[in-house]
């Protein structure tokens, strides 16, 4: 006899315990170790979800759950809009070896009625959903991570050899605000490596040239230009407006200035440096790890290492 939708739900209810919104909230407050799994469609999730939930639309459940919840011993509470899809999804999880699975009775509707909070990520336009679609395939980024990128403010110190590739890829990834500090103009000899610039922009200020390239790649990026060298007089004011500093310095005094100012401003510095065929990279996060001075307490004697 063909099954009806009632049959599916009754079968699932026999197997799968249901939990109330109150129970789930109480367990969250206690800090219990369990995973909330939201199996609604993407547009429903975008309108609001329970903070911290893993989201897998029910259509992809069997294919993505092992990647997102690798440990089948974990306790999982599944929810949907009203509590029906979650029952069926939970039954599938049980058959995949997730023994400690339950369904949220009444779904997120009952959760909201009980007055519990839902969160929304920064909303992306249709064009952004298309532009960053390759990011959404990566669970470490997803739409939530893209929202963070679009909200982020990154300062590039130097739009030259290091600032060019880092600037290009940060812009492509959708960092919403990028500041660029550089006092130089584009020179022919730069073009052997400074891929942010071009032959037809020789003589143009590097900041202007960078902005043109960045915005032609990604108009989402708001580019702020600082056509000056960083000095003790401007650095703290400039750093204040950014979350992360990308060090593409081409000289040691500026490198130490950046290090010290970032420490005082409590901003992480993503450090890079190159010399001939060698390069180095690290991240200096104030108080979380070493700073540039921990590594290089004294600069090289002048003239020994060219800037």
């Amino acid at each position: 006899m063909p099954k009806t939708q009632q049959d599916f739900l009754e079968e699932a209810r026999r197997d799968i315990p249901e939990v109330s919104a109150e129970e789930v909230e109480a367990r969250r407050q206690r800090g219990d170790d369990f995973i909330l799994l939201d199996v609604r469609e993407k547009d429903e999730v975008r309108a609001g979800y329970i903070d911290g939930a893993v989201t897998i639309p029910r259509g992809f459940l069997e294919f993505q759950v092992a990647g997102q919840i690798p440990n089948t011993d974990k306790e999982v509470v599944v929810y949907c809009a009203g509590g029906a899809r979650s029952l069926l999804a939970a039954k599938v999880l049980r058959s995949m070896g997730y023994d400690r699975v339950a369904s949220l009775a009444g779904g997120i509707t009952r959760w909201k009625d009980a007055g519990y909070p839902v969160v929304r990520d920064r909303q992306l336009s249709a064009e952004q959903l298309e532009r960053y679609s390759r990011h959404f395939l990566l669970r470490q980024i997803g739409e939530k991570g893209q929202g963070k990128l679009l909200d982020a403010k990154v300062l590039l110190v130097g739009a030259g050899g290091l600032g060019s590739p880092s600037g290009l890829y940060l812009a492509a990834a959708g960092v919403g605000t990028m500041g660029i500090v550089d006092a130089d103009v584009v020179d022919l000899s730069n073009l052997q490596r400074q891929v942010l610039h071009s032959t037809d922009r020789i003589g143009v200020l590097k900041t202007e040239s960078a902005k043109q390239m960045i915005n032609s790649l990604n108009p989402d990026v708001q580019v702020r230009l600082y056509n000056e060298r960083l000095t003790v007089d401007n650095v703290m004011d400039i750093f204040r407006d950014y979350d992360i500093i990308v060090d593409g310095c081409d000289n040691f005094p500026t490198r130490y200035l950046v290090n010290d100012a970032a420490f005082f401003a409590d901003k992480p510095v993503v450090h890079g440096s190159i010399f001939q065929f060698e390069g180095q990279a690290s991240v200096f996060k104030p108080r979380a790890g070493p700073c540039y001075r921990c590594l290089f307490p004294t600069p090289p004697p002048p003239g020994m290492v060219p800037s």
């Binding site: 990154v154 290091l162 590739p165 003790v232 703290m236 190159i274 060698e278 390069g279 996060k285 070493p290």
Partner: protein, 80 residues
Amino acid sequence: MPGVIGVIQATETIKLIVGQGEPLIGRLLMYDSLAMRFREIRIRRDPDCPLCGTNPTITELLNYEEFCGLEVAESAAVGN
């Protein structure tokens, strides 16, 4: 050459923003493009660091040209 390091910097920046993966905090990644080899060393906060150590002596911004010996060198070159 700067391409690789620059993209690594972009990658680390993105990781910090989205809060995923292991950032290069406390690690120095070293790249030798001729040998095409990457190496990594652990780096630690220096408790004696004048900036971020337990007894900091640098509590405000300095004259960095002077710190790097450039002003002295320049004035020497000019024959002061």
